[in-house]
Structures are given as C-alpha cells and as structure tokens.
Subunit: 255 residues, 2 copies
C-alpha cells in the first residue's frame, strides 16, 4: 500500500506515522506550507512538495487531511490519477470528491490529535464511507490495520458525530482551560485537578453522563451558584457559568 498525504498538520502527522509503523509505505507529503511538508516528510523519511502538480500519480491511496476550507480548493487543483482519494474530515460530505475523480471515500478517525502527542490507534473508532463497495473494502483494510473499531457511516450522520466530538473534546478541554486559569490566578497549581479530570472521564464508562452528574447545578443549589458567580470577574466566563448551570438543571428535569 503506497500512500500520499495531502496535508501535514496534527491529524496528518499522527495518522501517517501510525500507517508507516504499520508497514504502509508513505511515498510523499504535500502541504501548501513548505516548512510543514518538510517537517513531516523528515519524520517519515519520504519526499515532500508544496506544489500540487508535483504530487506523485503513483500511489494507491491519497489521504486528504486538511481544513475544510482548504479541502475543496486542493481537490479542485489535483491532477486526476488512478488512486483512491479519501479525506479524514468529520463535517465534509463524501460528495466533495464527485466530478474530480472516480474512486473516492472518507476515513474519519474520531480522536483529537496533536503533532507532539502519540495516541493509541487501536482504540480509535474509524468511520468509513466510499464511492463503491470495492473502495470501502480497501479503506476497511487500511483502517483495520490501525484500529480494532472500524464502522461504516453516512456523510449525514458523520456531521452529527463531528458536532458531538466538538462538545466531548474541544468544549471539554475548554472547561479544563477555564478551571486551570481560575487556579493559576490564585497561585494554586493546575495539576491538582488531574485526578478529578481523570475520574470525570472514567465515570462515564460506567454511568451515563446524566447519572454521573454531581455539583451545585444539578442540585440547583442557588446559594453556591450565586457565590461562584460573584467570584468570576470575566463577564463572558460568568455568563458561561450561568448558562451551563441552567442547561444542566434543565436537562435533568427533562429526563
């Protein structure tokens, strides 16, 4: 399996390194930013380019790991070839490839990736979609080499999966950031939060998030809520505290 990576960001970096380690041959890395292409190619020991018309036509698989806005442009600028083109984006439909090439698909790994952090691919769910059963089978082989959890999913449903991931990951991480900032301002080391952060995540393996919920909002302990609001000086963060607390209480009332 010879692979060209179109993109050299967080996801491209982690995925290409995992594929390389799993025995797939990464032929080339393309990025519009030469420095990024070069950095990733250096890790992979392959060639790189920042010119779309210099992308090798000889690969079996072209993996597009790009921002949504860049994806359309780059697809439009690629020369047709005989390989399978697949993107890795949660919120872009399969049809973004229609008209540009014959063989295409989507291979969406539900995970947060950073260039500097290794992740265990075995547990990452991969969601696949393709222009034909043959292309889906090929993507299944690739994803199945990396992960034990590979599932088909339509573009329509994948949009919601990506939306849910923003809540479960990006917004969650922002709650960590706000918590750490509150402590930092008082000279308390942020790492005291780690056992709480770990347990909050571990808990939802056993209990649903609704059942796992604790704290002043779910009890609607207005006394504590008002005290907390008075401690928050940033009006945007105070507003978030108020609205998230109300939403926690409302969700509970719905159950």
């Amino acid at each position: 399996m010879r692979v060209v990576f179109i993109g050299a960001g967080n996801l491209a970096t982690r995925l290409s390194l995992a594929m390389s380690r799993a025995g797939m041959e990464i032929l080339q890395v393309y990025s519009r930013t030469a420095a990024r292409a070069e950095a990733l190619a250096g890790k992979l020991g392959c060639v790189w380019t920042d010119a779309l018309d210099a992308v090798s036509p000889d690969a079996d698989l072209y993996l597009f790991a790009l921002k949504d806005t860049a994806l359309r442009e780059v697809i439009a600028g690629m020369r047709p070839n005989g390989g399978l083109w697949a993107h890795t984006a949660g919120s872009m439909p399969l049809s973004v490839f229609a008209g540009a090439t014959e063989r295409y698909g989507v291979m969406y790994p539900l995970q947060t990736f950073s260039v500097e952090r290794e992740v265990d691919f075995k547990r990452i769910p991969f969601f696949l979609e393709a222009s034909s059963a043959r292309e889906e089978a090929l993507l299944k082989k690739v994803a199945g080499t990396l992960s034990d959890d590979v599932r088909p999913l339509s573009s329509e449903k994948r949009k919601y999966l990506h939306l849910a991931a923003v809540f479960a990951c990006n917004f969650t991480n922002h709650m960590y950031a706000l918590a750490e900032r509150i402590l930092r301002e008082r000279g308390i080391p942020g790492e005291v939060l780690l056992p709480l952060i770990d347990e909050t995540a571990a808990k939802v393996h056993e209990l649903s998030p609704e059942r796992a919920q604790t704290g002043p909002a779910v009890r609607y302990d207005r006394n504590v809520i008002d005290k907390h609001l008075a401690l928050l000086r940033d009006p945007d963060v105070r507003d978030l505290y108020e609205r998230i607390s109300a939403n926690i209480y409302n969700l509970k009332s719905e159950i």
Copy 2:
C-alpha cells in the same frame, strides 16, 4: 479513631467506606432522611439516627458531609461535645463552626463522588484547614491514611478550588451529556465517544489545556462553526456552542 458521619449522600458514602476500610471505626451515621442514614449505616455495619440530639457524643471526629444550606442549620442544632468537627465542603468557610464548638476544621477532597461508584482515594488531593495546629495535625493523619496528596489551604483559596472543580468536572460532564444526546438522536451509540473522552483527559497530563486545544473554534473555522450551529435545534445548546467557541478563540488570542 472513632468517627460519626453527619450526612449520608455521595461524598459521605464513599468517604465513610474508605475510612472504614482503612481501619477507622465509624460509630454512627446521621441524616435528616432516615432511609439514607439507614442505607449507609447498613453498608458500614453501624447504628444510625435521624435525630440530631441522638448523635453520639463519644466520637473523636464528626465529619459533616452535607449541602451548604443544610450545613449551617445542622451545626446550629448539634449539641456541643469534645470531638473535632470538620466539614468537607469546598465553598463553606472554616468559620461556619465558630461559636458552635471549640475544635473544628475542614477536610476537602477534590473529587466527584457517586454512591454507586468506587474511587481510588490514594490519588485524591485533600485540602485541610483547622482551628489550631493540633486539629490540623489530626486531620492530616486521617487524610494521610486515605491519600498520598494532603495539603493545607485557606477558606479563601478553597472557594476558588471549588469553582474550578465545577468547570473541570460538572461542566465537563455536561459537555459529555450534550455530545451523547446529539448522537442518541441520530441512532449512533454514545460509547463511540469514550476513546475521545479518555484521550482529551489524558492529553492535559502532558500538554496544558491551551496547547492541547484542537477543533474548529481554536482555528476559528467559521465554515464548520456555522454548519454546526445549523445542526443544533435546541436554542439553548446552540447558544452555548456559539459562546463557548467564541471564548475558546478569545482565550487563545490572550495567550
């Protein structure tokens, strides 16, 4: 060490069971709700009461694990005795005991507790404060039997610690709940989020939350943000999505 528990909720349950296992003798459980007192006393193999004037005067330590609003009332209703009285509340000051008894303190474990889930106390940070060095030493001995992480902390700072915990735990858990609800409405099993939830928590052991952040908000990818807003039908949740995204982007600009 003979202990009376005042309260029989999530925290009282997990803490009393951990203390009992560590060799401390739980003499009695008090709760205003007889059924709860009885349930916890049953687990501990001790007696219980729902009458404050029937609380045993013979314990070394009285641990108050109650809602903030109940705490003041219950302290006012307790008969004075020679034991050390300590509460476990993040947002109540040490001074809540002043005038009611001579020997008092605070032993605040930074963790989320549910009656039905065991937690590993060894890693839970305990924050202590007391009316004298002697009382603090006694609480340190108790907390140190349970945990490897015991620190002194003033009432003033503890308020902020509790506020930070609401973000890192309760609000985080609510993000999980909203994510799961989005999937449930589309027939996608919520457990596909677990590896993402785990990695999001694990990541901040290595990278600060600011560095760990990924996704459309931190890139300010308006294209994805607008698509996501269009998918959210609940106006309160749509509003949260918009405000949290803006706050993620603003926090990044500040750094």
